[in-house]
C-alpha cells in the first residue's frame, strides 16, 4: 500500500454525515493514518518477531513448536513488539471514534432534526419500535469499541450512533469501501449479475443493515425490486432511512431481528447480509439461517458476506484475525469462524450451500475514472490477516432454496 493509496477514496458527502471542523477532520485523518501505519508498518513485523524469537522461546520452554493459534497467542502477548502493535491498534480504534464524536457532539440536536426531516420526506417505510427487545449479543458490550454500541440512544429519535458508525466505518476501512462505504453490497450485486444473469429479484432483504451502506447498491443494481433493510438497532435504522433519502433513494428500513423477522413465508427472492453473522451468537446464527430459508421463495437465494472461516487460513493468520475478538470487542468473532457454516446451512434446509469469492467492486469503480488509478492495486492484493481490505474479494456463503 503506497502513501497515495491511503487517500484514494474520500467519503462522499450527504446531508446526515457529521460535518467536521478543520481540526476535527485532521484528527480523523490522523486516526485513519495510524490504522494504516499499524497495518503496513507494524503488522509485517509480527511474523518476523514470531519466527525470530517468540516461537523459539516457546519451543525452549515447552519442548515443542506452537501448535495452534492459542499457543501462538500465549507466547506473543508476552513480547514487547506485539504489545506495541496491539496497544497501538487499540488506541487507533479509540481515537477514531473519539475524533468523530467531537463533530457529532457539536451538531447533535441539529443532526437529529435533519434526519427526522429527511425521513419525513421519503415515501419508503421506516419502522422503529421503542419496545423492541435488542438482543444481548448486540448490547452486552459495545462492538468495535464504538461508544454507545449500535443501539445506544441519548435522545428521542436519536441517530448519533448511526452517524458515528457511518463516519467510523469510512475511517476504519481507510476508504477501501469506496466513497459510500458500499463495496460489500456492490461486490455481491456484481457477483449476482455475473453468476446468475437471469436472476431478477422482486423482493430483496438485507439483514443487519446498520446504516444501509451495503443495502443501497441492491436498489441501484435492481431498481425495480422492493429493497428492505432490517436491523436490531433503532438509531442505525433511523439514520439508514435518512441517509438513503438524502442520497435520493427510497429504501425501507425496519427495526427487526434477523432471527425472527415477522415477514411471511416464501416472501423474498434474495436475502443477504454483510459482516452480520460474526456480530450474532452461537444460537442466533443457525436461527438466522432457518429464518432465511423460511422467508425465501422456492428458488430464492441466500448470501452472507463475511471474512474467511478459520479453516481456510493458517494458525498464525488465525491468531492475527482472532485479535479482533480480544481487543476490538468482537465477542462472537472467533467462535463464528470456527463454526461449520456449510453444515448449518444444510440443517436449515438449503441443499447445496458453498463458499465463493465476490471480487471487490472497488476495482471496477476505479476503472471508470483515472482519479482512482491506484485502486486496482488494492483489489489485486492477496488476503492478509490483520489488514482491512481482503485482497481479491469478499468471502460469501451462498445457498439456494430448492425451486
Amino acid at each position: 500500500m503506497s502513501v497515495e493509496m491511503v487517500n484514494i477514496f474520500q467519503q462522499a458527502e450527504h446531508p446526515v454525515l457529521p460535518k467536521a471542523t478543520h481540526d476535527e477532520k485532521a484528527r480523523q485523518e490522523f486516526a485513519k493514518s495510524l490504522k494504516g501505519f499499524v497495518q503496513q508498518g507494524l503488522l509485517p513485523g509480527l511474523g518476523m518477531v514470531f519466527q525470530g524469537r517468540v516461537a523459539r522461546a516457546f519451543e525452549k520452554t515447552h519442548g515443542r513448536a506452537p501448535a495452534d493459534r492459542h499457543d501462538i497467542r500465549r507466547a506473543m502477548v508476552q513480547d514487547l513488539y506485539f504489545q506495541h502493535y496491539a496497544a497501538t491498534n487499540r488506541i487507533a480504534q479509540e481515537l477514531l471514534w473519539e475524533s468523530v464524536i467531537d463533530s457529532i457532539e457539536r451538531d447533535l440536536p441539529a443532526l437529529n432534526a435533519r434526519a427526522a426531516e429527511l425521513s419525513a420526506g421519503s415515501r419508503a417505510p421506516l419502522e422503529v419500535d421503542p419496545e423492541f427487545a435488542t438482543p444481548r449479543y448486540v448490547t452486552a458490550i459495545d462492538i468495535h469499541c464504538m461508544p454507545g454500541g449500535y443501539a445506544g440512544e441519548v435522545a428521542p429519535g436519536d441517530v448519533s450512533t448511526g452517524a458515528l458508525y457511518d463516519r467510523g466505518v469510512y475511517l476504519y476501512a481507510m476508504g477501501y469501501m469506496g466513497p459510500h462505504n458500499d463495496d460489500m453490497g456492490r461486490s455481491v450485486v456484481n457477483w449476482l449479475k455475473r453468476n446468475l444473469p437471469d436472476f431478477a429479484p422482486e423482493r430483496i432483504l438485507d439483514m443487519g443493515c446498520t446504516v444501509g451502506h451495503s443495502t443501497l447498491p441492491y436498489k441501484e443494481g435492481f431498481p425495480d425490486a422492493e429493497v428492505t433493510g432490517i436491523d436490531v438497532a433503532g438509531p442505525q435504522v433511523r439514520y439508514a432511512h435518512a441517509r438513503a433519502a438524502g442520497l435520493g433513494l427510497e429504501v425501507g428500513f425496519l427495526q427487526r431481528n434477523a432471527e425472527a423477522t415477522g415477514f411471511p413465508d416464501n416472501h423474498f427472492d434474495l436475502v443477504v447480509s454483510h459482516i452480520l453473522l460474526h456480530e450474532t451468537s452461537g444460537k442466533a446464527m443457525p436461527a438466522i439461517f432457518r429464518e432465511c430459508f423460511r422467508i425465501l421463495k422456492p428458488g430464492g437465494v441466500m448470501i452472507h458476506a463475511d471474512l474467511p472461516p478459520f479453516d481456510k487460513v493458517d494458525p498464525f493468520a488465525q491468531f492475527i484475525l482472532d485479535n479482533e475478538t480480544w481487543y476490538n470487542n468482537e465477542p462472537f468473532w472467533g467462535a463464528m469462524r470456527e463454526a461449520d457454516q456449510i453444515a448449518m446451512a444444510k440443517a436449515a434446509g438449503f441443499p447445496d450451500p458453498r463458499f465463493d469469492t465476490a471480487p471487490m467492486a472497488v476495482m471496477e469503480f476505479a476503472a471508470q475514472t483515472d482519479d482512482y488509478a491506484d485502486a486496482a492495486a488494492v483489489a489485486d492484493r492477496e488476503f492478509t490477516a490483520g489488514e482491512y481490505a481482503p485482497g481479491g474479494g469478499w468471502e460469501i456463503l451462498l445457498a439456494r432454496k430448492a425451486a
Partner: protein
C-alpha cells in the same frame, strides 16, 4: 434556601465504550501513557495540518507564504527569543530528569521519604 432548578442537560453522545479494556503492557500505567502519547501525536498532526492549511490559504490570497517563510531572516532578537523558548521547552520535557538530579543532590531516597513520613507521624 430553595434547591436550584434542574438545568436542562444538553444532548451529548456516549463517550466510553462498554466492555473491559484489555491491558497490553505488564507495567501498570504504561497503557495510559501510550494513549496519552498518541493523543499528543494526534494534536501535533492536527496542528501541523492547520499550519499547512494556513500557508495554502495565504497562497490562494496572493501571499507566497511557503517561499516567504523560506526567505524569512530572523533578527538577533527573534533568534534569542526562539532559543529561549526551545530551552524552556526542553526543560519542561526533561522535568523528571531535573527532579532526579535534585533528589540525588539532596540525598533524597525512597527510604528517606518513608522515614520522614514515619517520623512526622510520631513527632
Amino acid at each position: 434556601m430553595n434547591a436550584p432548578a434542574a438545568m436542562p442537560q444538553p444532548q451529548k453522545p456516549i463517550r466510553d465504550a462498554k466492555g473491559k479494556r484489555p491491558q497490553f503492557y505488564e507495567s501498570p500505567g504504561l497503557d495510559q501513557a501510550m494513549s496519552m502519547i498518541l493523543v499528543l501525536a494526534s494534536e501535533f498532526s492536527a496542528m501541523r495540518e492547520r499550519v499547512d492549511t494556513l500557508e495554502r490559504v495565504l497562497e490562494q490570497n496572493g501571499i507566497e507564504a511557503g517561499a516567504a517563510v523560506e526567505a524569512y531572516q530572523p533578527t538577533p532578537e527573534v533568534l534569542t527569543a526562539r532559543e529561549q523558548w526551545r530551552q524552556a521547552f526542553l526543560g519542561r520535557l526533561y522535568y523528571l530528569a531535573r527532579k532526579d538530579a535534585a533528589d540525588a543532590a539532596r540525598g533524597d531516597t525512597e527510604a528517606r521519604f518513608r522515614d520522614t513520613i514515619e517520623s512526622i507521624a510520631e513527632s
